[in-house]
Amino acid sequence: MKNRSLVSINDYSKEEIMQILEIAAEFEKEPHQNLLNGRVIASLFFEPSTRTRLSFESAIQKMGGNVVGFSSAATSSVQKGESLKDTILTVCNYSDLIVMRHPVDGSARYASEVATVPIINAGDGANQHPTQCLLDLYSIKKTQGTLENLEVTFVGDLKYGRTVHSLVIALCQFNTKFHLVSPVELKLPSAVKRHIKEANLQYEQYTDFSEVIPKSDIIYMTRIQRERFPDPLEYEKVKNAYILDNSMLDNSRENCRILHPLPRVNEISIDVDSNPKAYYFEQALNGVFVRQALIAAILGLK
């Protein structure tokens, strides 16, 4: 992985993914490791994303690195019409690695081709968000002890959720059985389903949520957004059909854990938070360890 950019989760092999997760476990045991020792990492957020930015910057600082960059395009030279290529080439002069978030699909791949330092994609438009995928995999492995042969249930907006797409594709390498729960309007796109079929894995699609809960090792919840429905009446019909409350977990498996990429709105009731099966807040913390591991691996420090 040394000196290689991470743009899409498919850029890394299964072995490389497992290696990152192992290094992340070391950082979880000992988060403060002065590996960067004053190195400079650029954090370029062409669109704001406070959660992701704080997670990366916390990872860098826990490793003794320095951060340069900007947190929105409004405070950068992009505002003056500078091309992405020029911005990236300039920043390469001042940093050993670039973390970038950009609203345009494919911008991170392009940046990785013009840059002289490695790029970590922190989200490019509707396309990819590979570090979210790594932290999801880490959370699954940590709570289940393995990534192999699990039954994973995805709930909510499976059509537009890019975190769902990346995770489904990544899990195709681990003999997963998929349960896909969504309103008909928001089913998993066929381009993503193709990966499941090509890997010869089992999947089932449901519109009713409750019946799959007892079959799940992981329940991955997502938010259904009102904007996705051209007809507001359609939204009203489904909005309460995919809400998880504590009583629904009564007959869930002992090892079952609830994940959510956050922020949540109302799709997980507050009464689930105190259930030991709720894992979404720890999941976010795992993001820091995974990002530390990734930075260390790309810079050849681990």
Binding site: S8, S83, L84, K85, P103, V104, D105, G106, S107, R109, Y110, G125, A126, N127, Q128, A191, R194
Partner: protein, 154 residues
Amino acid sequence: MNNKRKELIVSAISNGTVIDHIPANKLFQVIRILDLEKSDKEVYFGTNLESKKYGRKGIIKISEKYFEANETDKIALVAPTATLIEIRDFEVVKKSTVNIPEHVEKIAKCFNPNCVTNKEQVPTKFKVIKVDGEIKLACHYCEKNTSQNNMVFH
């Protein structure tokens, strides 16, 4: 049907290229992607002609024109069944089918308006894939697939 009558359907050319076996419904798209509207050479075309192999086909004849690889790649993407016939002095000197390329660079546009190739000065790059028999262009940058009907060329 004898040869005389066949010629009357679409006029013969002395030198140039005949593109035969174009699916009838793709004829105008082929005309568009080759930019034939702007050609100052003689151009003849016909469509919904009977074809033993393909049911109904389209045909284009262009005087004094011989195609380069990047142009035949474009034809292959929208009309994979097409045959190219090179004519010199009224004689057929070469007949070839088009090959679907594995990759195409620069010639096609990505249909995704939010793709970096449509937002910055980035040359396009695609892998040619087949989904349920249909040719699609998988964008190297935004990872979205452009289907045949959405193909637009530079």
